[in-house]
Subunit: 214 residues, 2 copies
Amino acid sequence: MVKPQLRISESTIHRLSIYYRALNRLERENYETISSKELAKREKLTPAQVRKDLSFFGSFGTRGLGYPVTELRDKIAEILGINRSWSVALVGVGNIGSALVSYKEFQKQGFRIRKIFDNDQRKIGSNHKGIIVSDADDIVTELRDSKIEIVVIAVPSLVAQMIVDDVVRAGIKAILNFAPINLKVPDDVYLRNENMAMELEYLSFSLCNDEAQL
Amino acid sequence: MVKPQLRISESTIHRLSIYYRALNRLERENYETISSKELAKREKLTPAQVRKDLSFFGSFGTRGLGYPVTELRDKIAEILGINRSWSVALVGVGNIGSALVSYKEFQKQGFRIRKIFDNDQRKIGSNHKGIIVSDADDIVTELRDSKIEIVVIAVPSLVAQMIVDDVVRAGIKAILNFAPINLKVPDDVYLRNENMAMELEYLSFSLCNDEAQL
DNA sequence: CTGCGGTTGTGAAACGTTTCACAACAAATA
DNA sequence: TATTTGTTGTGAAACGTTTCACAACCGCAG
C-alpha cells in the first residue's frame, strides 16, 4: 500500500499533517469526497502539490471524483504513524512542560505522556494529571526498562545537552527539543527542534521589511 | 548597510535566528571572531550556506579572519528587527497562553507581552505577571488605540478565526497562531503558525520509516 | 454506446535553494 | 617585498521542490 520510500521531503510530511487536520474537519462537515482543488484552496496550497504529495505514497483518489475523505484521512494517519498511540516522556515541568502535559492536541493524535522528570526537589513527587514526577537523575534507569518511545525536552538550555545525553544513553531514538539550542545526538537518533521565538522573529523581520515584501 | 531586498527565503531567515543564538553563545565563550566553517560545524550546517545567507545582507566578515562575533550578532539583530522591543498582546491564557507569559526567550529577544485577553469570565480581571486580563470581547477597541504590534493567538481552534477577525479589524499586521487550524487573513497581514503537534508527527513518521531513512 | 465535464496521477519544465570552486584579499612570516 | 596560510564573497553548477500540462479515467446524460 505504502510505496517504496524514495526520500520524502520534510515539506511533504508537514503538509501531510496539514491534510490530516483538514480532512478531519471535512469529515465533521460531512463531506464524503474532496478534490485536490478544494483541499488546496482551504489550506492555501496548490492542487498539484496536494496530488504530488499524496502520489508519493500511493493513489488514493478517483479521477473525476476526488479523494474519499475518511479513507484518505486514515491512510495519512497510517503514513504518519499516528493510527496508533505513542508512549512519551516529558523532561522538565516548568512553564512549557506543564502546558504540554495538558495539551489536548498531543493526546488527540495518540501521543500519551506516561512519565515526567524534573530536577527540582519541590516538583519531584508532585502529581501532574495523574503522573508522579520522577527525579531527572533517574532518567537512564527509568527509561531503559520502560516502553517510552519519544522524549520531549522542556528544560533550560543550560542543562538540555546533559539531559539529552542521558536520554540517548537510555536508548531513546526520537526526541523533541524545546530548548533554544542545537543539541548533539548520534546519527541514529531523530531530533526535532521546536523554537517558539523563531516564528516571532520571522514576524519581526517581516514587519521591518514590509513594503519590500508585499 | 542592509542590501536591497531580493526576496530572502524563509530558510535563510530561520537560519539567521540560529546564527543569532549561536553568536550569543560564542560571545559568552569570549570568542572575538568566528569562521563560517566553525559556525557551520556548531550548528550542523555548511560553511557555504552560512556565507551565502549573510551575503544577502552585506559583507560582514574579513577574509582570512572570519566574522567579528559581537558585531555580526548585532547586525543580525538589526536585520531580524530584534534590536528593539516589540509590543505584543496575547489572546487566551489557557495552558499554552500561560506558559508564553512566563517564557523567558520572548522577553530576552525584546518581545514584551503588554496585554492579555480571554473570554473566560473567571480569568478576566485576574493578574498574570502584572498584567490584568481583559475581556476578549473588547479586543477591537482595546487594540485599536494601543501600541500593540504583534498578537499571539493561543485559543481553541473553534474560536480562533473569530478572534483573528477581530484582531485584523483592530489593524494588527502580524499574528502568531498556536491553534492547529489554517486561519484566513488579508494579504497585508503577516500570519505565522506554530503547531507543536506537527513536530511530534514528524518524529512518529521517522520512527515508522526507520531503516529506510538512515 | 458515445460524448462531455470533471479530476487524478505523473513525466517534464520551471523555479528556487544549496553546494562548489575559486578569485580576492588579510595577516603573518621571512 | 614576496610568499604562505586562511577565509570571505560570489557566480555558476548541482540538486531539490513546485508547478505545468496532459493522458487516463470516472460518472452521467442522451
